[in-house]
């Protein structure tokens, strides 16, 4: 299997946490994993994106037109990284406004910020929330809900229950969206 994922957001949103979760998922199934981070000099608030390559790869960078999936924790950062997607690839993004028409990709957007503002989940859980939306909307996503739950427990047992709650909240929301 070969699967390439880009996660885009800005500093403080927990992009790297998702990389660690997916690395654990890959390791648990004995799949090869390479990842890398792209960020400038900002500590908080600057653009951050991570490349994740699962399967037999030798370098961690994802080139333009190659990614199977782009997860956007922020709409602008997702749009900024669209060029990395392959034709027909999935983009799953937190976004207030719909994405432009006519993109050669499969687009799934959800206004996660509005939900967090309404108190449906804590904003610190935005990363896990978007992972849940991805699980519900992307059929070829390489990991199952159970595998993600296991990884969430491995990475931080203390807050695992809260994270898993956010994950299931997102799954329910995204399924409702699809109906």
């Amino acid at each position: 299997m070969k699967y390439q994922i880009v996660i885009a957001g800005f500093g403080g949103q927990g992009v790297v946490f998702l990389v660690k979760v997916l690395a654990l998922c890959a390791g648990n199934r004995d799949l090869k994993f390479l990842g890398t981070e792209n960020h400038g000099m900002s500590q908080r608030g600057g653009a951050v994106s991570c490349d994740i390559k699962i399967g037999d790869f030798s370098n961690p960078v994802i080139d333009r037109g190659q990614a199977d999936l782009l997860i956007g924790l922020d709409a602008n950062e997702a749009l900024r990284n669209l060029q990395l997607l392959k034709e027909g690839g999935h983009v799953v993004s937190n976004a207030q406004d719909p994405f432009p028409e006519g993109l050669p990709f499969q687009v799934h957007t959800i206004d996660a910020n509005a939900q967090a503002l309404a108190g449906e989940f804590p904003i610190q859980g935005l990363n896990v929330f978007m992972l849940g939306v991805t699980l519900a909307t992307v059929p070829d996503f390489p990991f199952s809900i159970e595998e993600i739950e296991t990884a969430l427990r491995q990475i931080n047992a203390k807050v695992a229950d809260q994270n898993i709650e956010v994950l299931h909240h997102a799954l329910a929301d995204a399924r409702e969206m699809g109906e």
């Binding site: 403080g12 890959a26 390479l34 908080r44 960078v61 950062e77 749009l79």
Partner: protein
């Protein structure tokens, strides 16, 4: 044992599994996590390891190098521009050599992600005549760290490990030793004055001859151990031979698979010293040779044959900036290896306008307020603002910085600028970490020669930009910046940051008055005590939890807050009014007075309640 590790973590484990017992260095992206991880392993496994941040790279290098002279296995870590600072020590150490293994880890940053130059440390190793290893993945980094320490001990020379950002900050599931069986060597300095204290001319000339012989022997070893077996295994798949090193190898391998290109590919693990004659002999079986490496043409220059060798020098590859597989695809096309389409072309045929997100200080960062106050008091038209390397460099976004050169240069450039343009007031800024690193000698210079400028030391008590490493003063409070300055015979004016902006402005008004008074001579030094908003140990003592909202009736869209104050949560909404992103606002309260000319920033009573 399989572990998911970042390249820098893999290097740290490699050091421990090579029985390296002393690690010293200075933080710098992308190298910083190496020493931090050694410290974590040390405390987790309770190992008798010295792993400490030095005041700068030269000091760090020398501490570790001395350990290796005394027979211990040691390492120094730094980024590539840090190696410039340590280079004086390196050049001589390359002549003298060492008894215990000594690994110099210099991390490069092709693509200028967070460095002011794109220099190639492999070329520095060649300049110093020491061997260099170039890992292509975190697994390589782990293996080569252990190998490098052995190599250094075997040939009694410093060895450089040169990982690039895509190795340091890559994550991979790697295979490493199951258990840590740590056996440090006994440290015993053996007096050998002709060696450890060799002086010009005869002593150093003799060592120069020995160093030449040594590097020749290592080149022969490189051939026998690494390159010959690889060349012997080639199958003559095409008339183009590819030599690739580090990430260049990883990129090339992947591009070949994806483009279905068949060619002979040799991985060069030790790009210097190369057995040039042997390699050139192998060129005879090929019409063309492509060298893929970054960022400088280090291998290419060594094996150069203008009739055959292609790479960066003849622009077959990209000359600058980080390598992409698209560059390799282009090179394959130029050399006739590939005729297909560009699979790395974007699939999106129209462009989407996305607002840029330029680097900025964190929401709640006190640097923003101090720079705002400095600009309010020392007007831009009448001042020059030299600054330095650190988080505060990001005050560029506020227009509060005029020059950036290298670590510590704010102080010496303030000297030069004040001499060259005395009509302006020079207000230099430097962080506490950078002041300790290399700001002290130029301040002594300025005091001794009486240069007239203001130096503001932004003391947040941490090396913030590289991940909040500890500063000398925080570790040991006897190292007081104020007393260091006063030791130069001048006063150190103290200010404590306040989220009430008028207090910062009033302080600098007072400083301006003193600086312009007739009694004042020479440099005027200010130390502002502040904090880092990401410093969980200290920030709660400073942040008042005063969250801001905008009164849309009062906002006149004047751009003051988005240009001179420049706090990331502030942006225009659809109605053309400033709105504060509630997820980003840190509750510092810095914008609540003076910043808005119409006082549109108001305290969000509901959100701030209970936190005051």
């Amino acid at each position: 044992m399989k572990e998911t590790l970042m390249g820098n973590d893999a290097i740290a484990w490699g050091l421990i599994h090579a029985d390296v017992e002393m690690v010293s260095g200075y933080p710098g992206t992308p190298s910083s996590e190496i020493l931090g991880m050694v410290q974590k392993i040390k405390s987790k496994l309770k190992l008798p390891v010295y792993a400490e941040w030095a005041t700068n790279e030269k000091v760090g290098f020398e501490v570790a190098y001395a350990g290796a002279i005394a027979g211990k296995r040691t390492a120094a870590t730094m980024k590539q521009v840090g190696l410039n600072v340590a280079s004086d020590a390196l050049m001589s150490a390359a002549y003298i050599g060492n008894r215990g293994g000594f690994l110099l880890i210099a991390a490069d940053d092709p693509g200028f992600h967070s460095s002011q130059t794109e220099q190639d440390s492999r070329v520095f190793a060649k300049f110093a005549r020491i061997p260099v290893l170039d890992p292509s993945t975190p697994q390589d980094a782990y293996d080569m760290t252990r190998y490098g320490v052995e190599l250094s001990e075997r040939f009694e020379t410093p060895v450089m490990l040169r990982p690039v950002m895509r190795v340091c900050h890559a994550r991979e599931i790697i295979e490493m030793e199951d258990a840590t069986d740590f056996h440090p060597k006994e440290g015993k300095f053996v007096r050998n004055i002709p060696r450890w204290a060799a002086v010009p001319r005869d002593g150093r000339l003799q060592q120069g001859y020995e160093a030449l012989d040594r590097i020749e022997a290592i080149a022969a070893y490189n051939w026998a151990e690494h390159l010959k077996p690889r060349f012997d295994a080639l199958e003559g798949k095409s008339d183009v031979l590819i030599l690739a090193s580090g990430t260049g190898y990883a990129f090339t391998r992947e591009a070949m698979e994806e483009l279905e290109v068949e060619a002979d590919l040799v991985k060069v693990e030790m790009p210097y010293p190369l057995p040039v004659e042997e390699i050139r002999k192998r060129f005879e079986a090929y019409e063309k040779v492509l060298v893929v490496e970054e960022p400088y043409p280090c291998i290419e220059e060594q094996v150069m044959d203008p009739a055959k060798v292609h790479g960066r020098l003849d622009k077959t590859m990209n000359r600058i900036d980080e390598m992409k597989k698209e560059h390799i695809l282009e090179a394959f096309k130029k050399l006739g290896l590939y005729e297909g389409k560009n699979i790395y072309a974007p699939k999106l045929t129209f462009s989407i306008d996305v607002p840029p997100r330029p680097p900025a200080l964190c929401p709640g960062c006190p640097h923003r307020d101090i720079y705002y106050a400095i600009m309010k008091v020392f007007k831009k038209s009448k001042s020059i603002y030299p600054s330095d390397i650190g988080c505060y460099t990001l005050a560029l976004a506020q227009g509060a910085i005029d020059t950036i050169l290298c670590m510590g240069a704010s102080v010496s450039m303030a000297s030069g600028l004040s001499l060259a343009d005395p009509s302006k007031t020079v207000v230099a800024t430097i962080g506490d970490g950078t002041f300790f690193h290399s700001g002290i000698p130029p301040l002594i210079n300025a005091v001794y020669q009486g240069h007239r400028f203001i130096l503001v030391i932004l003391d947040n008590s941490t090396i913030a930009m590289t991940g909040r490493q500890v500063t000398p003063e925080r570790f040991n409070q006897t190292l007081d910046i104020g007393r260091i300055v006063e030791g130069m015979g001048i006063k150190c004016y103290e200010h404590t940051y306040s989220h009430e902006m008028h207090k910062n402005i009033d302080f600098f008004k007072g400083i301006k008055k003193i600086f312009e008074s007739e009694e004042h001579q020479g440099p005027l030094v200010v130390r502002v005590r502040q904090f880092c908003i990401l410093d969980n140990e200290r920030k709660d003592d400073w942040v008042p939890g005063e969250y801001a909202v905008v009164d849309p009736e009062l906002c006149v869209a004047c751009d003051q807050c988005t240009t001179v104050y420049k706090c990331p949560p502030m942006a225009y909404n659809a109605e053309g009014k400033i709105e504060i992103d509630p997820f980003l606002c840190a509750g510092c309260g810095g914008c609540l007075e003076i910043v808005c000319p119409t006082d549109a920033f108001k305290l969000d009573e509901e959100k701030s309640g209970g936190k005051q």
